[in-house]
């Protein structure tokens, strides 16, 4: 059985809004430093980080037409700037995207 995007969105919304409602209800009674929240944080970092890494390097989208070396260079440059700039998302983001755009422009014969 195939479930359409709207039904899947309703499910996704229910899954996320229930946490928000629960957050409102327990706001005064919960200790957010509990180890279980740290574990959930780690699972999110791993799951979403891994999924995004896959979306970049094992892309099924148009991104797959970009040579792997270009994606790797842009990614590495962005992460290097991020690390050297005391973990500034803005700096790493601009650096990585600039390298990617530059390489894409060069490959497509724009310069």
């Amino acid at each position: 059985m195939t479930v359409g995007p709207w039904s899947l969105l309703a499910i996704a919304f229910a899954a996320t809004y229930s946490w928000r409602v629960l957050g409102v209800l327990v706001a005064r009674r919960i200790d957010t430093d509990m180890a279980i929240f740290e574990w959930f944080g780690c699972v999110t970092y791993a799951l979403v980080g891994g999924l995004m890494f896959k979306a970049i390097f094992f892309a099924t989208s148009e991104l797959a037409t970009v040579p792997l070396i270009d994606r790797g260079l842009a990614f590495a440059a962005g992460m290097a700037i991020f690390t050297l700039s005391k973990r500034s998302v803005g700096a790493g983001f601009v650096g990585g995207v600039a390298v990617f755009a530059g390489l894409a422009l060069w490959r497509l014969g724009g310069v």
């Binding site: 969105l9 959930f40 780690c42 791993a46 894409a104």
Partner: protein, 235 residues
């Protein structure tokens, strides 16, 4: 009594600029990606406003693109967005006016995101308790408008852009989210990302249906215990 309309407009004005631009750019990439995954425009915009968080949105688009089932969607999004619980717990006292539970708190809860939470936290000293709700709503409504606009622009015009720009938009959003996932203050979170980039794609190749969850939970748990073994105080 504060002039609510003036405080609301002040919140709106504070959002116009860097926060709105950065979010609109990231969401332009989401628009391109959602179209690439076969979503229509309405469902794409509604997904932005209802899920209200890039990690969940990107995961939603990828899972729809991969024709995943409802159970995988529910479990994955619930796991990813459980982080909204402590966020709401931490942010609500900064947003509400008084401790008594009101129905409006359930609306504020939907608006809360890391961006406006950081903003309202930074403005704590400047705003009196009755000024917080209108300021927060003004800031958040501009956020809603900008991210919706960014999404529509990406979706509608992403294909009309010069090829190198279209490709860059497809790279930009997953890279931005990846960077956000790398900002964990504790070493456990950092280990989790490093192990996740290996385990998650590997597990997904082995099982297209459950690999994401199995890889994510395994890598997160290993990272969590590595972090416990060598706690880091680095920020």
């Amino acid at each position: 009594m504060p002039d609510k309309a003036a405080v609301f407009l002040r919140g709106a004005r504070d959002c116009i600029g860097a926060p709105a631009l950065a979010l609109a750019a990231a969401l332009t990439g989401y628009g391109v990606m959602a179209r690439d995954n076969g979503l229509d425009l309405t469902v794409t915009v509604v997904s932005v406003l209802s899920l209200w968080g890039l990690p969940a949105m990107m995961t939603y688009a990828e899972l729809v693109g991969a024709s995943s089932g409802p159970v995988l969607m529910a479990v994955t999004i619930a796991l990813i967005n459980i982080r909204t619980l402590p966020m709401v717990v931490a942010a609500l006292p900064l947003v509400r006016n008084g401790r008594q539970l009101k129905w409006t708190h359930f609306i504020y809860a939907q608006f809360i995101s890391p961006t406006n939470w950081a903003q309202i936290a930074a403005k704590q000293g400047e705003l009196s308790a009755p000024e917080r709700p209108p300021y927060f709503l003004g800031f958040s409504l501009v956020m809603w408008l900008c991210v919706s606009l960014g999404t529509v622009i990406g979706y509608e015009y992403g294909v009309a852009l010069p090829a190198f720009m279209g490709l860059t938009l497809l790279f930009l959003t997953p890279f931005f989210v990846f960077l956000m996932m790398s900002t964990g203050h504790r070493s456990g979170g950092r280990w989790a990302v490093v192990i996740g980039v290996v385990l998650v794609p590997l597990a997904m190749f082995i099982s297209a249906e459950w690999g994401l969850l199995i890889g994510g939970i395994s890598a997160g748990t290993i990272g969590f215990f590595l972090g416990r073994k060598a706690p880091s105080v680095e920020t």
